[in-house]
C-alpha cells in the first residue's frame, strides 16, 4: 500500500466537506460537512501513525473523535435554539450580528 492513497482519499473528503460548509444553507447539513472534515483528519492521523510506526496517531484520532462528539452535541443544541426562536434553520437568514 502506498501512503499516498490514504492521503488522497482524506484530501478528497476534506475538500468535499469544505464545499458542503460553504454551499449548504441548512444548519444540520453544515454540521454533517464538518464531520466529513474531521474524519479526513482522522484518516490522516492514523495513516501517518502507521507510517511512522507510532501509536500516537491513533491516540490523537481518539481525541479528535471525542472532541467531534462534543462539537455535534453543542452544535445541534444551538441549531435547536435557533429553530425555536426563528422557526427556521436557514443559515442565510441568521444575520442578526451582521455589521
Amino acid at each position: 500500500m502506498l501512503l499516498n492513497e490514504y492521503l488522497f482519499l482524506a484530501a478528497f473528503l476534506f475538500a468535499a466537506g469544505v464545499y458542503g460548509v460553504l454551499a449548504r444553507r441548512n444548519a444540520v447539513l453544515v454540521l454533517m460537512s464538518v464531520e466529513l472534515i474531521l474524519n479526513a483528519v482522522n484518516i490522516n492521523l492514523v495513516a501517518f501513525g502507521a507510517f511512522r510506526n507510532s501509536p500516537v496517531g491513533q491516540v490523537f484520532a481518539l481525541f479528535v473523535i471525542a472532541i467531534a462528539a462534543a462539537e455535534v452535541g453543542v452544535g445541534l443544541a444551538i441549531v435547536l435554539l435557533i429553530y425555536r426562536n426563528r422557526r427556521s434553520i436557514d443559515l442565510s437568514e441568521v444575520d442578526v450580528m451582521r455589521g
Binding site: L3, A11, R25, V46, V59, L62
Partner: protein, 163 residues
C-alpha cells in the same frame, strides 16, 4: 497485499460517492444516511491500517451516536423529509471553485512530497501500545478531553432546555 488493495479500492470508491452525495443531495435524511456510509468506510480504512480499536470507537461513537443525533436534529427542526430545492445558498459555484482549489493544492503537494512512500503494515501498533501511550504520556490531555466532553454535554442540555 492484493486483498488489502482491493478492499481499499472498494471502500474508497464508496466513500467518494457517499461524500459527494452528502454535500449535494436534496434530501436531508438521505444526507445523514450517506454520511453513515462514509463513516463506515472510514472505519474500514482504520481496520486496513491495523488500527482496530480506533475502528471500533469510530463505529460506536460516529455510526452509533452521532448519526442518530443528526437524525434527531433533523426530526426536531421539522425539516421537510422529502426532496427540497433550496438547501444550497447562492454561493454554490464559488464554493465549488474553492473546494476544487483546495483538493488540487493538497493533491499536488501530497504527490510531490509523499510520491512513492510505502506503508509497512507488517509492524502494527497494538491496542495495548495505544493504551500505554494514552495513560502515560498523554494522560493530562486525556483527562482534559474528559472534562471538555462533560462540559459540552452539560452545556448542550442547558442551551437546549426549554425554560
Amino acid at each position: 497485499m492484493v486483498a488489502q488493495q482491493i478492499a481499499f479500492g472498494v471502500t474508497a470508491f464508496a466513500m467518494v460517492v457517499g461524500a459527494v452525495r452528502v454535500v449535494t443531495t436534496k434530501n436531508v435524511v438521505h444526507a445523514a444516511l450517506w454520511l453513515m456510509l462514509v463513516l463506515a468506510g472510514v472505519a474500514a480504512n482504520f481496520i486496513l491500517l491495523a488500527a482496530e480499536f480506533v475502528a471500533v470507537v469510530q463505529v460506536l461513537v460516529y455510526i452509533g451516536a452521532i448519526v442518530v443525533l443528526f437524525l434527531f436534529g433533523i426530526m426536531l427542526t421539522r425539516a421537510p423529509i422529502g426532496r427540497e430545492s433550496n438547501l444550497d445558498n447562492s454561493m454554490r459555484p464559488l464554493s465549488l471553485v474553492v473546494g476544487l482549489l483546495i483538493f488540487g493544492l493538497l493533491a499536488s503537494v501530497l504527490a510531490k512530497q509523499w510520491g512513492r512512500v510505502h506503508l509497512h503494515t507488517a509492524n502494527v501498533q497494538r491496542t495495548s501500545d495505544v493504551a500505554q501511550s494514552i495513560f502515560t504520556q498523554y494522560v493530562v490531555p486525556f483527562e482534559a478531553v474528559s472534562v471538555v466532553l462533560l462540559a459540552a454535554l452539560v452545556g448542550a442540555v442547558v442551551i437546549a432546555r426549554r425554560d
